[in-house]
């Protein structure tokens, strides 16, 4: 039988990473959010006053902002039923042997082989709200690359942190950005000095482990002129019955002629609200690439965006969404052209099945004085059964007449001719469908690191089981 069949018991019965360690935390706050919670977080982290002030100001913004009137259904989201801060370990480990054994077990259960762990040198593994493991390669250190969890970065590099924090996504941007600014904890800080090319992708694993524990990481990436980095984050979460909230903020600054690629594979369990603000600023000649895969969660609302502020900057956004039973993936992309001769390409692929819903929501905006811009948006959706749904809501605001914009979207089921072709060559209908779906998402999967691509193909094989009669 096919590989997908053989692997399926391993890949997923219900949710394959849906196990949980006993909760042993040195410190956790009671549920709910008020000023004392924010004060306690700042106290716990012994943060400088400016950060404490930013948190408190953001808390006020959070109270003032309404929930977004568009997008997915947030009515079940109870902000008072969430724990806003948990401290997992006493210190950030540098050596693998110092990592607490329960946490090492978690990685064991995630199935990362020993050899691969070594291969993945430089992995910053975020367990709960703080990173517990950081092993930065010596050569990068020598080049001046800073790869830390955000809390440590704030302590060790306060000047850089203060200079860039909140400049791309200010607290008043939206309700969830305000929430994140008020209670953020953990996340990744990455600084690439001028001219440095980081050849091996930097990776970060993290997971939500405590019941109803919100994950509010704050990621800040600064790529100086002519530098290059590829950052990968993959998330898996244990499945729980109560609603969990993940409200992260990612800020990326790509300076002149630099290039940053940011790859995310999100596979939250089906009770998680995944409400993330991801935004990059691309200066002259810079290239920003988002590769964004949304496989899990109850509701995802995430629109990676690029503000093209320098002449000749380029944005490339690949978005993949897979929605199954009771899932809504409201994902998309934004490209805002503010400078001359900037270009963007947005490719979105979505698959909905078993009553799932996928929505593409995007924006292409061209400012009045940004002449000679080009943008191309392609959205393709597959609907596998009559109970599922797909939407496309692209918005285009083109205020400059020299702009070339192309947008196209298609929605359909698996082509009967394609299926017939495969079946006539002796392939079973179910297997043929899996093959066609994998082919459909290929343009995005081929941009992923191999281990993610393999996992994704297995996952689709499994989810497709029994979906074709």
């Amino acid at each position: 039988m096919s590989d997908a069949k053989k692997l399926s018991p391993v890949v997923m019965s219900e949710y394959q990473y849906g196990f949980s360690d006993p909760e042993e935390y040195p410190f956790r706050l009671p549920k709910g959010l008020d000023e004392s919670v924010v004060q306690t977080i700042a106290d716990q982290k012994s943060e400088p006053d400016w950060m404490r002030d930013r948190r408190l100001a953001a808390l006020i913004e959070f109270g003032k902002k309404p929930l977004p009137p568009w997008g997915g259904d947030l009515s079940d989201l109870d902000f008072d039923a969430i724990t806003y801060y948990i401290k997992p370990g006493d210190h950030v480990s540098r050596d693998w042997n110092d990592v607490p054994s329960t946490i090492r077990n978690t990685f064991e259960r995630l199935g990362i082989p020993e050899s691969e762990r070594k291969y993945l040198a430089g992995v910053g593994a975020q367990y709960e709200s703080e990173s517990v493991y950081h092993n930065l390669k010596e050569e990068w250190k020598a080049q001046g690359v800073i790869f830390l969890d955000s809390d440590t970065a704030l302590r060790e590099h306060p000047e850089i942190f203060k200079q860039y924090f909140g400049t791309v996504v200010p607290a008043h941007d939206n309700k969830f950005a305000a929430l994140n600014t008020a209670v953020w904890s953990g996340g990744t800080f990455l600084y690439i000095p001028k001219g440095v090319h980081v050849k091996i992708p930097l990776q970060n694993y993290f997971r939500i482990n405590a019941k109803n524990m919100g994950q509010f990481e704050r990621t800040l990436i600064i790529a100086e002129e002519d530098s290059y980095v590829h950052y990968i984050e993959g998330c898996t979460a244990p499945s729980y019955t109560e609603n969990a909230l993940h409200a992260a903020v990612v800020e990326v600054i790509v300076k002149k002629n630099a290039r940053v690629r940011y790859t995310t594979i999100q596979n939250w369990s089906s009770n998680v609200y995944n409400l993330v603000t991801k935004r990059a600023v691309a200066h002259a000649g810079a290239v920003m690439e988002w590769v964004d895969g949304n496989l899990g969660s109850k509701l995802t609302m995430k629109y990676p965006s690029v503000y093209l502020v320098g002449e000749g900057a380029h944005a490339d956004i690949l978005s993949l969404a897979l929605a199954g039973s009771a899932q809504h993936q409201d994902a998309g992309a934004k490209a805002v052209h503010l400078a001359k001769n900037t270009t963007s390409v947005i490719t979105s692929k979505s698959v909905s099945h078993s009553g799932g819903r996928t929505s593409y929501r995007g924006l292409v905006e061209v400012a009045p004085r940004a002449s000679g811009c080009k943008s191309k948006v392609v959205c393709d959706a597959l609907i596998l059964d009559p109970a599922s749904r797909s939407d496309t809501y692209p918005t285009m605001k083109i205020k400059n007449g020299t702009t070339v914009i192309e947008h196209e979207a298609t929605v359909s089921k698996i082509g009967e001719e394609q299926l017939f072709y495969a079946c006539s060559r002796g392939i079973a209908a179910e297997q043929a469908s899996t093959m066609i779906v994998n082919g459909f998402i290929e343009p995005i999967v081929k941009e992923l690191p191999m281990e993610y691509a393999v996992e994704l193909n297995r996952l689709i094989g499994l989810q497709m089981e029994g979906s074709v009669g």
């Binding site: 002449s371 009559p386 599922s388 918005t395 400059n400 020299t402 702009t403 914009i405 947008h407 929605v411």
Partner: protein
């Protein structure tokens, strides 16, 4: 059914019953800045062909909002709109294809193309899809762009000066829609076009 021709601002609900072909033509100029229409394909075999033209200039600000709503199985709709935007004119467009859960075996296509003839002209197309059935083919395409430089070069290299070449290419752009219309409508349009 006789073609429905829209040349004035207003809200136009149109229902296409079973086994009926309906042509809808809309023309948007300064005289018809706000056109709203919901075309409902209400019975099996309903077929709607919608063709739009917009000619905007100076400080025109036009809004066209179309919903193509498939409520029964075996329906078909095709939508094509093309037009030019000059000076400081603004063309806003919303085109939603909505396919209900029961409306299987449906085909729907929407295409919107705006030609921007001045750097200050702007267009804001929002084509949307809400698809609740699965055995369907639905797609849309939208473009906004100035005159293609290579096409212009091609025409100019044949000895035609730039203003004339631009006029030629602009006419060819909207002619794709014009040619698909009944002769009476075409006649009306060409007088409009000349003014």
């Amino acid at each position: 059914m006789a073609p429905i021709i829209i040349t004035q601002s207003g809200d136009y609900p149109i229902t296409v019953p079973a086994h009926t072909d309906q042509l809808v033509v809309w023309i948007q100029t300064a005289a018809s800045p706000t056109i709203t229409s919901t075309v409902t394909l209400a019975g099996p075999g309903a077929h709607a062909t919608i063709r739009g033209l917009f000619l905007l200039q100076e400080s025109d600000h036009a809004t066209a909002q179309f919903t193509i709503h498939h409520t029964t199985p075996n329906t078909c709709a095709s939508f094509l709109a093309k037009g030019t935007v000059r000076d400081q004119a603004v063309a806003d467009f919303t085109g939603l294809i909505k396919i209900d859960e029961v409306a299987q075996k449906t085909e729907s296509f929407l295409e919107y193309r705006a030609l921007l003839l001045d750097a200050t002209a702007s267009a804001n197309p929002t084509p949307s899809l809400e698809i609740l059935a699965n055995d369907v083919v639905a797609s849309h395409a939208a473009t906004t762009a100035p005159i293609d430089r290579e096409q212009l070069f091609y025409v100019q290299s044949r000895g035609i000066d730039q203003p004339q070449a631009e006029a030629l290419l602009t006419e060819a752009f909207v002619r794709e829609v014009m040619d698909q219309l009944p002769a009476a409508v075409q006649k009306k349009l060409s007088t409009l076009w000349k003014s």
